[in-house]
Symmetry: C2
Subunit: 311 residues, 2 copies
């Protein structure tokens, strides 16, 4: 394993796809946030793992940023007519993954094993891992008190003002063993923090005991990619959340949030002025990933930024 | 409540539909076998309740005899590509009922309450009840030993030779209270044993403690409808199973199996010679139900057979 990518959902998945297209499959490990996993309708749902897996498999829905492109919606439509809960949209094909995952987890398999099985069947070549096989659940303190992450993120569309985040279960969660081993591997060339929301996608991973220490001690440079361009997120509540948490929503603000954790920082040409004075080695590039070529180009930029720093 | 219909799946549901079209909704109670209920893919599935509910709602699949006519199959197709179990076919819309039922049962609702909720949403006017809110599970002793009912019925397509049936849980199951009350109601006009498989659809109902006694004591005649015509079942393994259990597969054989339980017996004109000498009052009619008019006509024949016997 030579490159580890830490990823949340859509933005992270795009860069992971770029990396998967320029690296041999056995040289990329994508470690996914599981803080926004939850149990819903009796099912174990892992949104970030699925977004990454679907994106790498080429079946992701490019418009929605979640779910599959080849989806049908009979289940959800009928559930609505039955008076069931429809605020979290589950497509008919997507549902097969949740049913299968739930069944295997109940039978005692780890989330890693289930994820590996699903990825293999989807034809995903690089390894995709949860940050931990133990449950971690992000909760959000808002003006209305603490609420579960998906309640905040999907049901309330990120409208409540965020004051604080907590990662329940993180303190006792164990790093996924292959993730831990890969971080200590002398062959490791780079750790990439994908352009995901720092607070809800990356910090849950960092909250697992040992991850921050392993990143500090690992033989390879840690390169983060800014999720903001011109102070705005491409998708999701990163900028809004930063402002609510008392930070300036900017590429520089994200870099400062990561602080000493990162050795290099890739941000958009547009944000050149925002990153003056940060500790990490800055690389400017085009971070907007509209096309497949954009994803590959950003992946090359990121690996290039790591190469010049290799210790 | 003036008519109670005891029903299994497709044949019973057809007659229940006929009854529902000639009786006011509050004068019909359909009590369904739950012996073929099972847990599959983490879901609580009640095939006979659903077949009856879908049939009464007008959404049943007329070709398959199970599931819905307006169905799509994305879930099952995708589950197959994931290596999941696909021998029990679950359509995308059908799945919504199973997910909703499973969720509500886990939340502590009774199967009766869940069934009432689903039927209301489907627009089913007559009441549909499980025979019991306690789980009863039919098992089949075959040449290969005891196997679960759906394993026998769906996965093995009724191929194994049947030697014995058992209804696990029946001995401690309680009659559904409204079923029990309806059987004791002085207004009861008839109990109809629908043309369902006696061994796997009706006898699980009869195995619930108190049902046989309540039928014997009830103020109304019990009228059974033969599931066989000319020694053959319209659908399902009734005739095969009778032969394997050492009985002659005939309309008369079914009547003798019910014995003193029934006061009247409706069988097809074709089987006139088969029912000589049975104890119940025989009414001949057309029992094949191809059209909606056939279902209504058979319902009238059955209610007529009850009327002449009313005690």
């Amino acid at each position: 394993m030579t490159v580890i990518a830490l990823s949340g959902g859509v933005g992270g998945a795009k860069l992971a796809l770029g990396l998967s297209r320029i690296l041999p499959p056995d040289e990329l490990l994508v470690v996914c946030n599981t803080g926004d996993d939850f149990e819903h309708l009796g099912l174990s749902i892992s949104p970030d793992i699925d977004t990454v897996a679907y994106t790498l498999a080429g079946v992701a829905n490019p418009e929605l940023g979640w779910g599959r492109g080849d989806e049908t919606w009979s289940f959800m439509e009928t559930l609505g007519t039955l008076g069931g809960e429809t605020w979290f949209r589950l497509g008919d094909r997507d549902l097969a993954v949740h049913i299968e995952r739930t069944r295997r987890l109940r039978a005692g398999e780890t989330l890693s094993a289930v994820t590996a099985g699903v990825c293999k069947r989807l034809g995903v070549a690089p390894r995709v891992l949860p940050m931990s096989d133990d449950p971690v659940r992000t909760r959000v303190r808002t003006d209305e008190g603490w609420i579960d992450f998906q309640e905040y993120f999907v049901r309330r569309r990120c409208e409540p003002v965020v004051h604080e985040l907590a990662f329940h279960g993180a303190a006792t969660a164990r790093m996924q063993p292959d993730f831990q081993a890969a971080l200590a591997d002398r062959q490791l060339k780079a750790v990439v923090i994908c352009p995901s929301n720092p607070f809800i996608s990356i910090e849950p991973i960092l909250a697992v005991p040992g991850v921050r220490e392993a990143l500090a001690a690992c033989p390879a440079p840690v390169v983060a990619v800014s999720p903001l361009i011109g102070g705005r997120a491409i998708k999701g509540p990163t900028a809004k959340m930063m402002a609510e948490l008392g930070m300036k929503p900017s590429a520089g603000g994200v870099a400062r949030r990561y602080g000493e954790l990162i050795d290099a920082y890739v941000c958009d040409f547009a944000d050149m002025d925002q990153v003056a004075g940060i500790d990490a080695k800055v690389t400017l590039g085009q971070t907007m990933m509209k096309t497949l070529a954009d994803r590959e180009a950003l992946a090359r930029t990121v690996l290039g930024a790591a190469r010049v720093l290799r210790r």
